[in-house]
Amino acid sequence: MHNPPMPNAITIEGLTKKYGKLTAVDNLSLEIPQGAAFAFLGPNGAGKTTTLKILTSLIKPTSGEAYFFNINALEEPQDALLQVGAVVETAEFYPTLTPNETLEYFGRLRGMKKYNISKNSRKFIKLVGLEDWSDKKIGTFSRGMKQRLAIAQALLHEPPILLLDEPTFGLDPRGMAEIRTVFQNLSKDGKTIFFSSHLISEIKEICDTLAIIDKGRLIFSDTIKNLTKKFGTKDLEKIYLQTIKESVR
């Protein structure tokens, strides 16, 4: 018997976002298979965050399509967002709520059962190292602590897809290493990770596939294994800089 092909975790088709005359994302198409740890790399203003904002329904595209599995993320955003945990830009939270209350609120918005919210809140608050702060008001938190909470809320409902925009931003080196290990383990568990970062060292440790975007356009997308073979070097930074240089020309 012939099995139908497994749908990609994320499919982006001809995605474009224009702000007046400026094209932030230009006809972007990507296919990210299930279980991939996908790095989305590009200089400042390349269109990485705009793409993530479109995928998470924070903004609407000018044209194009995006799917999580077979769910159209633009036409059925709420169904699509159930498949996703996201950390976008510098996350902020309600200052008068505690991490436990915040996760309870978001868990309820996601239709999670009370028992699961409580169990997963404990689990992920511990995982991101906020267990001593779980009942303190977020208004007193540092940037790094808020970032840890952002990661916990993205993991709360154990989604199959994680969309991460500079997720280690604001963390100290030890925190970065801890969170990196979390993502490595999630990747091993078969989660699909869409990882936007400037930190090439981080990408090297977590991701197996890489796409480079500049001025809203996709420069290339391939597995890191194929890229290193093609460029004749294992130095991802060199590959990245060379690609961006050629793109500018």
Partner: protein
């Protein structure tokens, strides 16, 4: 792949609960409660300090209550500004939308949840004002002003109409400061001026929310007053009189108008709020 269906009614209830929790823990409710307590106490103590006579010794219970409720519009406007002015802006301005909107949340549920939570918060503030008024009335007259509860009910309806308008303003503006200013400008300048010039032109401003909300005050009078022509001495023509019509809002019509403002405000808010982006 798991497909879960979200219970929208449950989500709506959760939004009300957490939006209300945010209000209860925030500084705004503390400021509004202090105002709700201080306003009636000042109305009572200031005449004693200035003329050595208390309000209770010189007026009937109806006049006593009216003196207090006259200042209620100000409390309503301040409370509505505090709770409604940035309700649809804060998630965009404070960046909390980056986490909130990545959840499968319906903007319709969010808007109505925020509206109900803000209405509840202002109702508590108004409730405190009316409880103090009732306590003072009972203390001095051993009875309560007639229709005090109905006046409170009308105050809640007016509050919802004003909140709805403040939501509509906030739904298309980007900053909370400009939203507060726009709301104050509308309710302290535009509507009162429109009311004034229409009344001078002998046109009853029945459609104005600031005119319709005066039923809060007039309901305390028994019987309910009617429009009347008042003759006043003409300043520039000695010996002659000028007639001015003192218009009184009709209860049913005014309630209808306030409901129309609630509906219109929410429809406009929803239209813009659903299109608002986290840029």
């Amino acid at each position: 792949m798991k497909r879960t269906k979200i219970n929208r009614l449950q989500q709506f209830r959760d939004i009300i609960q957490f939006e209300f929790l945010k209000f209860i823990r925030g500084r705004k409710i503390k400021a509004a409660v202090i105002l709700a307590v201080l306003t009636p106490l000042l109305i009572y103590t200031l005449p004693i300090l200035t003329s050595s006579e208390s309000l209770a010794s010189q007026s009937s219970i109806t006049d006593f209550a009216i003196t207090f409720v006259q200042f209620l519009s100000l409390l309503i406007l301040i409370s509505v500004t505090l709770f409604g002015g940035d309700a649809l802006i804060s998630d965009f301005q404070d960046k909390t939308g980056y986490t909130l909107f990545t959840n499968p949340i319906s903007r319709t549920s969010l808007l109505f949840g925020k509206f109900v939570a803000a209405s509840l918060a202002v109702t508590i503030v108004l409730g405190i004002f009316y409880i103090i008024l009732a306590a003072l009335s009972y203390f001095f007259y051993s009875s309560l002003p007639s229709n005090l509860l109905i006046s409170f009910f009308f105050a809640v309806i007016s509050t919802m109409a004003f909140l709805s308008i403040s939501f509509a303003i906030g739904s298309f503006l980007k900053g909370s400061s400009i939203s507060y200013i726009a709301f104050f400008f509308l309710f302290f300048l535009v509507f009162p001026l429109v009311d004034y010039f229409l009344i001078v032109d002998k046109i009853k401003p029945w459609f104005s929310p600031t005119f319709a909300n005066q039923i809060i005050l007039y309901i305390l009078e028994t019987p309910y007053p009617e429009d009347q022509i008042i003759k006043i001495p003409a300043i520039f023509a000695p010996g002659q009189t000028l007639s001015i019509t003192a218009y009184v809002p009709e209860i049913n019509l005014s309630l209808g108008i306030l409901f129309v403002y609630i509906m219109l405000g929410l429809i406009v808010s929803l239209f813009f709020f659903q299109r608002k982006e986290m840029n």
